[in-house]
């Protein structure tokens, strides 16, 4: 097949002509830039998946006051206790919910089909979506951390080990949320119902995964259900990073077990990647 497209036929003046084919990575980065523009200009999307988790932080800090004790002389304030769960919930919003909604709409309204008809490599499209998820997650988490430190005196993870766990869980959570969001689009029957199909299960998970309530106070059978899904493990990983060691006694088996969130999230990431490959479709307009 001929690659010399430029010289294959008499052309209209090609002012911006460049030699060679654009690389997958460069196109991926150009997709990231355009995805970010679309995301931050879409007021509804921005509000529900970017600002709302940040608002939750302020609401929690205002509604709940006082301290939680864990052992003699060890206590943290409520905001400090709930911050890890709210960060986890924010990551899910910025990755899972925002990608599932935006991709479902793009599938059903033909934008993806339009892209599929161009030479844009499929990998570049996914680089764009993952890049969007990562940038939004980092921006959102950074805003929450700065607000929590400046306004509520929350303490940052203590020591390099807890920092390492925090960053590992953050990266794993963002990646897992993104691939699961891509896979979840298969359950969305049309563009209009996308938010309605995506938000309720996510909301329920937040209630039972220790985001809005102390995980230890949730009935055992709900804990068991929550343990199947990744949000509980994201919250646990972040709690380990942000809370004093003695809070581990509130966790399952009265022990942090910080390795478990990393293992479970890695397993979910692999599973989510396979599901995304199986379930993703470029065009669902006629279904």
């Amino acid at each position: 097949m001929a690659f010399n497209v430029a010289s294959a036929s008499p052309s209209l003046p090609a002012g911006a002509a460049r030699a060679g084919r654009p690389s997958v990575l460069r196109l991926g980065l150009s997709r990231v830039a355009i995805e970010l523009k679309v995301y931050f200009r879409n007021v509804e999307m921005m509000f529900f998946t970017f600002l709302l988790p940040i608002l939750f932080l302020f609401i929690f800090a205002s509604v709940f006051s006082g301290d939680i004790n864990a052992g003699p002389g060890v206590k943290v304030n409520f905001t400090n206790y709930f911050l890890p769960g709210i960060i986890a919930s924010g990551v899910m919003s910025a990755t899972f919910a925002s990608l599932a909604i935006s991709i479902a709409i793009e599938q059903h309204e033909g934008m993806l089909k339009r892209l599929a008809g161009t030479p844009l490599p499929k990998a570049s499209y996914f680089i764009g979506k993952l890049g969007l998820a990562v940038v939004v997650t980092l921006a959102q988490t950074a805003i929450m951390l700065v607000a929590a430190i400046l306004l509520y005196g929350v303490e940052l993870p203590a020591g390099p080990h807890r920092w390492a766990v925090f960053l590992s869980v953050l990266v794993l959570s963002a990646a897992t949320g993104a691939v699961l969001g891509i896979a979840y689009t298969r359950l969305v029957p049309n563009a209009k119902s996308a938010p309605a199909i995506i938000q309720p299960p996510f909301l329920i998970l937040q209630f039972i995964s220790g985001v809005f309530f102390r995980y230890g106070e949730i009935p055992g059978w709900l804990q068991a259900i929550a343990s199947i899904f990744p949000l509980k493990w994201m919250s646990l990983g972040f709690r380990y990073a942000f809370l004093p060691d003695s809070f581990g006694e509130f966790e399952y088996g009265a022990d942090w077990g910080w390795e478990r969130p990393i293992l479970v999230l890695t397993a979910w990431l692999v599973a989510g990647f396979v599901l995304a490959l199986l379930f993703f479709r470029w065009d669902r307009q006629r279904e």
Partner: protein, 308 residues
């Protein structure tokens, strides 16, 4: 002339429904080809197989010397697609989306020039979500042409455009075709097919039922012409001459249906001269329109379409 599109015995089934029942078609490079047909006839299925969106069930298809079912991104860089749907990214401006798409291609048009070509200079910095239907259609066209393709697919390009917008779009397509490029167009507008295309194909119930230049497709040139004129003064009182064809009267008007319109007119004009009338009053001569031919061909009378 080398072929741009070559299709043999193309079939496409969805379950037990046969959307395409064996289509054969060759389109030359540099040709503007229009595909006509009623809704559900298989137009879009046919075009989407050639665009690489759908896998064919049987038969052979070559588009720019490649199999559209397996061609990669180097091939996609040589075609341009203007789809039926007009959904754009509402949050992006015209300039942003056109520039973004230009980046996908090895040798794109200048984005500002592409925007100018489709007449959107004044809307270049408006968000796509704020554009009218017709303006969105122009963005679709700019996106289809931005890669400077050798072959352009236009799926009902002027649906939703006002008459002026249609004429402008026709001008753009003609300009594009004048560069030796190939255009495959589907349309519901017969005047559009007639104005733009070198050849038209009429597709009905999954089969090509007629194929040829717009002036002759479906035996249009062999059909009878209709001569009409009024009778007044001496014409009304003199016997009409002998002519070949069927003659009927519609009140004070004469209607002649003939396969030899020029010869018939010569006889009639000589007769009018003899009567002392230099003109045949309210004279019209009409050939069957493409629409007449089209409606005859797709008239469903219970028998399957020919040419399958």
């Amino acid at each position: 002339m080398p072929t741009a599109i070559s299709v043999q015995s193309l079939r496409k089934s969805y379950g037990s429904f046969e959307a395409l029942r064996g289509v054969d078609l060759e389109i030359d490079r540099g040709e503007v080809f229009s595909l006509l047909g009623p809704n559900g006839a298989g137009k879009t299925t046919f075009v989407e197989v050639l665009e690489g969106y759908r896998a064919r069930t049987a038969g052979d298809a070559r588009v720019l010397d490649a199999d559209p079912g397996s061609a990669g991104s180097a091939w996609k860089a040589r075609i341009g697609i203007v789809p039926q749907s007009t959904t754009l990214f509402d949050e992006l401006t015209v300039r942003e989306i056109v520039t973004h798409f230009a980046g996908f291609y090895p040798a794109p048009l200048n984005p500002a020039r592409a925007i100018s070509m489709v007449g959107l200079d004044e809307k270049a910095d408006a968000r796509c979500g704020k554009l009218s239907g017709g303006q969105k259609r122009r963005v679709d066209l700019a996106l289809g042409m931005i890669g400077d393709p050798e072959l352009l697919f236009l799926d009902e390009p002027t649906t939703g455009l006002d008459p002026e917008g249609r004429r402008q779009l026709w001008g753009i397509v003609r300009e594009f075709a004048a560069l030796g490029k190939t255009v495959l167009l589907t349309t519901h507008y017969l005047d559009e097919a007639e104005a733009l295309s070198d050849r038209v194909g009429i597709i009905d119930r999954g089969a090509l039922v007629a194929l040829g230049p717009p002036a002759t497709v479906g035996g249009r040139d062999r059909e009878r012409s209709i001569i009409r004129f009024g009778l007044r003064g001496p014409l009304a009182t003199t016997t009409l001459p002998e002519i070949s064809g069927e003659l009927t009267h519609e009140g004070q008007r004469v209607v002649i249906s003939t396969v030899h319109p020029a010869a018939t007119l010569r006889v009639l004009l000589a007769w009018a001269d003899e009567c002392g009338e230099p003109e045949l009053p309210a004279l019209t001569v009409s050939r069957p329109s493409l629409e007449d031919v089209y409606l005859t061909l797709i008239a469903h009378d219970g028998t399957p379409g020919e040419g399958a």
